[in-house]
């Protein structure tokens, strides 16, 4: 993965607009957050291989960036995005990694389903 360059990532987001794509969206503090810090309120969400069709995708701000996808009847967005990659299967993988190298957020879109 490489650090997000807004102009380059915007081109990739545009390329997936107005077609059916599979979505992976994830936010996480890790399953051990409350083990290491007992007062911590651990929340997160995960969705994988839901089909969406967005009419407009935008990457905004300085790193860590926000990325939003406007749907005919709703929205998808993620904040904290630092890195991206168009992988060898042509899937657009965006992720936010904290200073210690741990993934905190992922937003991925693909024309074919992600594995299980």
């Amino acid at each position: 993965m490489e650090l997000v360059e807004v102009k380059k990532l915007q081109v990739e987001l545009d390329a997936f607009a107005n077609r059916d794509v599979y979505l992976h969206l994830e936010t996480t503090n890790g399953s051990y957050a409350t083990h290491f810090n007992e007062g911590f309120f651990n929340a997160g969400a995960f969705i994988r291989n839901v089909v969406i069709n967005y009419e407009l995708g935008k990457v905004v701000g300085e790193s860590p960036h926000r990325v939003g996808l406007k749907l005919p009847h709703g929205w998808v967005y993620a904040q904290g995005i630092t890195h991206y990659e168009l992988d060898e299967q042509g899937r657009l993988l965006l992720a936010g990694h904290d200073g210690s190298g741990k993934l905190a957020v992922a937003l991925q879109i693909s024309e074919t389903p992600f594995s299980y």
Partner: protein, 229 residues
């Protein structure tokens, strides 16, 4: 405590690397003693958060990396019967409970182990650990002739609930195998190993202890975590 010779040992954990920290010395010792050991690993740790910054992997490439690491860990321990059960990390507790019990019952029926090793229900922190522990305990509970059940517990309140572990093994003769298993999972353990080597160099007894002892609790059927399932 010396490790008794078993007929067959079945180890069940949900993530590649779960076996390395607390159990790889015990597994290696059983194998050295000629006891067949099966390790059923339920997921490939697909949701691992250690991806590096700069990243060395993506959410999509991580499972293949961790699969190779799991195979390397098995090799380090001398383990030849590694089962990858095909579930997805962080979803084990959402699977059908009866299906999970069936998966464990099938393994136990096939292998006829005299000892099963897994996590201790309600004391193993990660939801996948807890779901694995529940499924194994339920499957063993239904057996007419129950194998021994040794559980790993590491929740912060473990001492309050269970007291000291009743099974403590000296695994110093297989220290190299244990280090090998931990190093095999390098994508997840790199920072920890670095800290550990630093502490060992300073003569830290707690770290040294960790490399020479492994601790389990016999599952307490008289204080079962549920009345029935």
């Amino acid at each position: 405590m010396t490790i008794p010779k078993e007929r067959h040992v079945l180890v069940v954990f949900p993530h590649p690397d779960d076996e390395a920290f607390g159990v790889s010395g015990t597994i290696s010792t059983h194998i050295k003693q000629g006891t067949p050991v099966t390790y059923a690993c339920l997921t490939l740790g697909e949701m691992g958060r250690n991806l590096g910054n700069p990243p060395f992997a993506t959410r999509e490439s991580l499972p293949q990396i961790r699969k190779k690491e799991l195979i390397a860990s098995a090799e380090a321990m001398g383990l030849t019967d590694l089962r990858m059960m095909g579930l997805r990390d962080k979803t084990v507790e959402f699977e059908d409970d009866e299906k999970m019990v069936g998966m464990m019952a099938d393994l136990i029926t096939e292998l006829n182990p005299s000892l099963v090793i897994t996590f201790y229900p309600n004391l193993s922190v990660h939801p996948d650990h807890e779901a694995t522990a529940r499924a194994v305990v339920r499957a063993v509970r239904r057996m007419e002739d129950r194998p021994k059940l040794h559980c790993v517990a590491f929740a912060n309140n473990t001492l309050d609930v269970l007291g000291n572990p009743d099974v403590v093994y000296d695994i110093s003769p297989v220290r190299d195998q244990k280090m090998g298993a931990m190093k095999a999972h390098i994508s997840q353990t790199a920072w920890m190993l670095e800290e550990m080597e630093h502490k060992l160099a300073q003569g830290d007894t707690e770290t040294e202890n960790w490399l020479t002892k492994e601790r389990f609790y016999n599952y307490r059927w008289d204080q079962d975590f549920e009345e029935s399932f």
